[in-house]
Symmetry: C2
Subunit: 455 residues, 2 copies
């Protein structure tokens, strides 16, 4: 048996034996992990310095970006403290398990409950930021899933100590310490991706290429987002001030985020009314505009030219509308109608989040129904697409898939459900007594009001 | 562009353009399909006879089973009428779209709704029974999904006419006729499985090997069940009568079904109390028992020997406990404890449905939590695991996956959700105004009570 098989089997066993552990003990385990991390702070930060020094050499040699190095640093700003606070926050969230989403009495004394429960074993693959180990471990423990974690090789020393602190904490609880395991090599990941009998869900957090590679190499379901190509559409009936505010915030609030806007779509009737003011605000905010012919012409006709126009506005190359800029660059497209805007978004966006600016309620409704994205917004920045902003208290990731979980994913995305059927009296329930024929019983399907079951 | 790409693109376009069509028009389209099928009955049954004649030659030549031939016959018993009634039944089910599962006011006048909506384009692959075309078309239209259908080649003539009747009916409605398309060849299926930009979910209905093959050859999510290896566990505290009733019904009610029991697990304390009566009832019902040593010895010690014992009871070969018999054969295993029963089920069952017979509530609770299956039952036959019996009004299939839909799947399994965020006043909502700093706004996350939104 290979190492990977042993790891996967141990995770499955840990998951199965943990199924009877009450929620309160999971919460205690999270507090234990926080204490263990606090106690091991010096060693962990020392390991982190080792990773940083190695990374610095890579940066000096031009083999690593400075931004990647920054993300490695666990001692930067309040990162350490907020990592610890994250554990306490997750501990305090409502238990996602035991929630009843369907309950029906099939017959007298025969009750059916659909109850939320953990998925099983998660394989989580992420890049660079070592605190993700702690973050994911917290989410997994809270939601009742075992997890196998693989971080970037740049953070190997740090993640090793973080996960051994987590395992040390678990060994003081009723949760098996193999509940959270860390692996270090790509070969192990490859082997694990073939073990669908043990691993139930793969969650890649990182670049598009990471996510696509994983989707291409496993039969295990994958929850990840491969792209964030969001757009803002300014409708014929848009309020000018809202148009400017939503377009600017969607682009500049955090351009490197997946929920930042990459494309601005203009109804052609606003080219000479609203668009100049929106463009001026974007240019003043240092945004580079890649414009189609009508939107560029509308700006060229302005006198005086807007500030930054000469340096920041240029014709859009064809690939502009399928590019995730992740920077202060925005593609601009003119359309003749709302329907054309929707068609462009459905054909070009990554089905992440798209926003309309309009005062016309019918247009808003058509946009929200017609745009096939995880988020369809009205007069609001695409940047609201986020688990914390949505009120989930945490974020597992943002899914652009449509199956299981879509959009920002909270703890709910880490649970599934099972059906519990209880015969509560009589002689036990059998199917052979039901039927359409004379003398047979009929199903009653009486709705039961139940929000949770003890589980 | 290949044929498959054209088909997939047409399906996606049909899906996108159909998004604004109200639920009432979908219901009308279903009634239109029923009328069209009634009008074309003679031609369809003539085509079905062609398929049957060709199949009869295959049966005579020993290349096809007689049971497959029977499943082809659309004119057998009430099959034609119940196919038509199925359309009317699906039309009458509640709309699965527009259901709000989360609603929160993020800020004054900023409302977030998580609303159920269709998934997109379904690729449904099934074997033999031609009426599945009509069944799946109804479910897809009702739930707002476009569908591409591939039946078994034995039913090609029938499915061709069924789908052309469906397309003819759709051409009289606002739903594009490319909403439901039928394909005929395996080459088309292979090509479509590569087109994840157009196809959102694959639903294979058929043999294990069909499902596994498809899971191995696509990145598109697959909803199917690969096995039905269900078990009944008779606990130490079981009621004897319930034990017999549940064990017999789980095995004999319909042995070829995926929810029939394949394994009977006995607590060793009941070997000489309950087990003999259960075994007698099973043997009397013509069930063949593959017994482990203790369960066989317990029967051998009976005097007189139970009827059928000599012919129907034999030692279990090692592979018995991983075999889906799909016939009147039952594997029998003795365990020393409830925990051992749960461990055996988690290691050997297909996570479909497993039942405990017990009078001990604590044991029932441990079993239901500890067994990692889509259905965990107490004193009830595994045969209850079924969409109609659960009260869904229909059944898309039974999923042994854990992601998206698990267990019997109703219309709900054909929808996903999207987040609709509406800024209803002020100057439009932007993220830059929120934050922890002085002067910034805080998120309010006030719960909104809403069951549905017009959608």
């Amino acid at each position: 048996m290979s190492d990977a098989t042993e790891i996967a089997k141990a995770a499955k066993t840990a998951f199965e034996t943990s199924q009877l552990i009450p929620s309160s003990e999971r919460v205690q385990a999270l507090h234990e992990i926080r204490r263990e991390l606090e106690a091991a702070k010096d060693e962990i930060l020392a390991a982190n310095r080792q990773d940083l020094e190695a990374a610095q050499k890579e940066v000096d040699a031009g083999r690593m970006s400075g931004s990647l190095l920054k993300r490695l640093d666990l001692n930067k700003g309040d990162k350490w403290d907020s990592m610890l606070q994250g554990i306490t926050d997750v501990a305090g969230l409502p238990d996602p398990n035991g929630i009843v989403s369907y309950a029906s009495e099939l017959d007298d004394d025969l009750e059916l409950y659909r109850v939320s429960c953990p998925i099983g074993v998660l394989l989580v693959i992420f890049e660079a930021r070592p605190e993700v180990v702690v973050n994911i471990a917290s989410l997994a423990i809270k939601s009742g899933n075992a997890a196998i974690l693989k971080g970037g090789k740049e953070s190997n020393e740090t993640t090793k100590l973080l996960s051994s602190a987590i395992q040390g904490a678990l060994s003081k609880t009723s949760i098996p310490s193999t509940y959270i395991q860390a692996i270090q090599t790509r070969a192990e990941v490859s082997a694990l991706l073939g073990l669908d009998q043990y691993i139930d869900l793969v969650i890649p957090r990182g670049s598009n290429s990471l996510v696509r590679n994983i989707q291409n190499s496993t039969r295990i379901p994958v929850m990840g987002h491969a792209d964030g190509l969001c757009s803002v559409y300014i409708d014929a009936s848009a309020d000018p001030k809202k148009a400017t505010r939503v377009a600017v915030d969607s682009k500049i609030d955090y351009p490197a985020a997946c929920n930042a806007a990459e494309t601005l779509i203009l109804h052609d009737s606003i080219l000479h009314t609203i668009w100049p003011d929106v463009a001026k605000a974007l240019l003043a905010a240092d945004v580079k505009l890649l414009c189609d012919t009508p939107s560029l012409a509308a700006l060229q006709s302005l006198s005086p030219a807007p500030a930054n126009f000469a340096t920041h506005a240029s014709p859009a190359p064809p690939e502009a509308y399928t590019t995730e800029h992740l920077s202060l660059t925005l593609s601009v497209l003119t359309v003749p109608s709302l329907a054309a805007a929707i068609a462009h978004i459905n054909a070009h966006s990554s089905h992440h989040t798209d926003s309309i600016v309009t005062e016309d309620e019918a247009a808003a409704s058509v946009f929200c129904r017609g745009v096939d994205s995880a988020g369809t917004f009205v007069n609001a920045s695409t940047r609201f697409a986020d688990g914390f902003r949505y009120g989930f208290g945490t974020e597992v990731g943002i899914s652009t898939g449509r199956i299981h979980a879509r959009g920002p994913v909270g703890l709910e995305g880490l649970v599934t459900y099972k059906y519990v059927l209880k015969s509560k009296g009589g002689e036990g329930h059998v199917v052979g007594e039901f039927g359409a024929e004379e003398g047979k019983k009929r199903y009653k399907h009486r709705k039961i009001e139940a929000a949770t079951v003890p589980f």
